[in-house]
């Protein structure tokens, strides 16, 4: 298997639906090795899969053994999982380790999945934020620091080790079958909280389209930082309505009140530190990615919301 002539790619976050979609698209042309921080996932007989902590020394053995050509780093513990400390270790320190090893073992191509959350949900955000805008998420909440730090780190390596050819992707809300992030959980639920009087414009990308975008950015080697979002928009509350959710308004002012309510009720689906994203729009400009990579989404918003609506009907 090691002597296989296909180029080899290490894909992190293998337990997630997105990584599995990416692997499915790449497996014919590449030898894939899958790893995940959280659990071991069986993918198929020809894809070695490991549960591994990037900060442990055994992680380096994988690099020695497989001589990877590229890395697709999708393994991010999202803000709604785990404690802040564990997230920091996994996302920031783990990524640093991954990038150091990538450099040490002469890897020529690295994709890092970030998120639009890094821009921060601020009342004064202009729309169509482009990649040069400052990352303001950290000023709003400590809980998003790992996302911003992960980006900073990837940025440093992008300039420090040019031969890694790092591409950082900042997608809008990734949703669709199998996705388990906050937004997908909200669209899946029968009753979804909203902040009364606030319905920010949002962007959604279907998981299949996102997987296409990742594969495209791996194959067309153009390092840099790119937002990934379709040129289509909808307000949060309308997205819920179209997904067949009943909206449950929470009092929105003063701002401490909804924070208090979500905390007391233990509303994990509506995490405190993401509340501002349900209040103020963070609309990103995905045109640079679309033009550079010739990318266009294939699944329109209506199809995305139909999926969630029909899922509820079958429950």
């Amino acid at each position: 298997m090691i002597k296989n002539k296909k180029p080899k790619i290490l894909v992190t976050g293998a337990a997630g639906a997105l990584a599995q979609q990416v692997i499915n698209r790449l497996r014919n042309d590449y030898q894939i090795v899958a790893v995940d921080f959280r659990k071991q996932t069986y993918l198929s007989d020809d894809i070695p899969s490991y549960q591994i902590n990037f900060n442990k020394r055994v992680f380096e053995d994988l690099f020695r053994k497989f001589e990877f050509d590229g890395v697709i780093h999708l393994g991010r513990i999202t803000s709604s999982e785990e404690t802040r400390m564990r997230r920091y270790n996994a996302n920031v320190l783990g990524t640093q380790k991954l990038l150091e090893l990538s450099h040490k073992y002469n890897i020529k191509r690295v994709i890092v999945l970030s998120t639009y959350h890094v821009y921060g949900a601020n009342a004064y955000n202009p729309a169509l934020i482009d990649e040069t805008a400052p990352l303001k998420a950290a000023e709003l909440t400590m809980d998003l620091i790992d996302s911003v730090e992960l980006e900073n780190l990837a940025n440093i390596y992008l300039w420090k080790y040019r031969d890694l050819n790092i591409t950082i992707l900042r997608p809008c809300n990734i949703v669709g079958p199998g996705v388990q992030n906050t937004m997908s959980s909200l669209l899946s639920s029968k009753h979804a909280p909203v902040l009364a009087g606030f319905s920010p414009v949002m962007q959604f990308i279907h998981i299949d389209d996102m997987a296409d975008a990742i594969v495209l950015s791996y194959e067309k080697n153009k390092s840099g930082i790119y937002n990934v979002a379709p040129e289509d928009w909808v307000s949060y509350q309308e997205a819920l309505a179209l997904s067949g959710c009943t909206r449950v308004p929470l009092p929105s002012i003063p701002p401490a009140l909804p924070k208090f309510i979500t905390k007391v009720l233990g509303l994990n689906i509506f995490p405190q530190f993401l509340l501002n994203y349900f209040k103020y729009p963070v609309v990103i400009d995905g045109r640079s990615f679309n033009q550079t990579f010739g990318f266009k989404v294939k699944r329109p918003l209506k199809e995305i919301f139909r999926f969630y609506r029909e899922m509820k009907r079958h429950d």
Binding site: Y124, N125, P126, V234
Partner: protein
């Protein structure tokens, strides 16, 4: 049927719907644009607003055909009247223009997005947070944008200072030059009389975190409003010194002053 489509059916007349359909507006598959504009809400609100525009303020326009039908446009006017009524009237006037109607975007104060319901409502009707990045991106998308360079200095003006232009910022001129936008100067007469204020309670405004708290009667007077649109103005871009930019801004300002004077001299009575 959703509430929105029900309202649309009840409120928006067929003629008006046809008129608004003529407006070319790039929106996504669900009728939204990146700034939160929503085509359906816009139709309903404009229909409701026609009474206010035609019957309450009895708006009279002059030179509205000067606003180009296509391409990036900055409509630069004098701001007044405590509430941004002037912006809404200009927006309505252009959308209801018989030939080549156009959707113009008003730039709004930074505190609006923090107000529940109102902020969203304004966005859905086409208003946009007054941020230079927003304005630049809209001009890049070939939109028409309404800008009041006096900002809150203009809207918070007291009655005794009516029709005296406050300082203009230079931002709009830089954007016009960069994006090769046509400037349409606009003199608005009448809005100063809608909410005449005699004083501003500054300490209270500070506590509330809003730009001003006027002492005024809690009514909006039905002053007759005149919108005088001037001839298009174009300014070459390139490496221009700030001094020259200020001179160009003054040039626009003086045209607006003339348009206001014209409006005031045409006016027979306030209401």
């Amino acid at each position: 049927m959703s509430l929105k489509s029900y309202l649309k059916e009840k409120i928006v007349s067929k003629e008006f719907d046809a008129q608004l359909k003529k407006i070319q507006k790039p929106v996504g598959s669900l009728g939204y644009d990146p700034w939160g504009f929503n085509a359906e809400t816009h139709k309903i609100v404009l229909s409701l607003y026609s009474g206010i525009y035609n019957k309450y303020f009895r708006v009279k326009t002059d030179g509205i055909e000067n606003v180009p039908a296509k391409g990036p446009v900055l409509i630069i006017g004098n701001h007044s009247g405590q509430l941004p009524i002037d912006g809404t009237l200009v927006g309505y006037a252009l959308a209801a223009r018989k030939n080549e109607p156009r959707m113009a975007r008003a730039m709004i104060e930074r505190f609006f997005p923090t107000i529940p319901f109102l902020g969203n409502f304004l966005n859905q009707t086409g208003a946009v947070l007054g941020d230079p990045v927003n304005c630049a991106k809209m001009l890049e998308n070939h939109e028409a944008v309404i800008v009041f360079p006096e900002g809150i200095r203009g809207s918070g003006k007291l009655y005794k200072d009516r029709y005296q232009l406050k300082r203009f910022g230079n931002g709009f001129m830089h954007l016009a030059m960069k994006y090769d936008a046509t400037i349409i100067p606009l003199g608005i007469v009448g809005c100063e009389e809608t909410i005449p204020a005699i004083a501003n309670i500054k300490p209270l405004a500070k506590i509330l975190g809003i730009p001003y708290v006027p002492i005024a009667l809690p009514v909006i007077f039905p002053a007759k409003v005149r919108l005088n649109f001037g001839k298009p103005m174009k300014f070459e871009g390139g490496d221009v010194r700030e001094e020259e930019v200020t001179r160009r801004v003054e040039q626009v300002k003086s045209v607006i002053n003339d348009l206001i004077d014209k409006g005031l001299s045409e006016r027979k009575r306030l209401f």
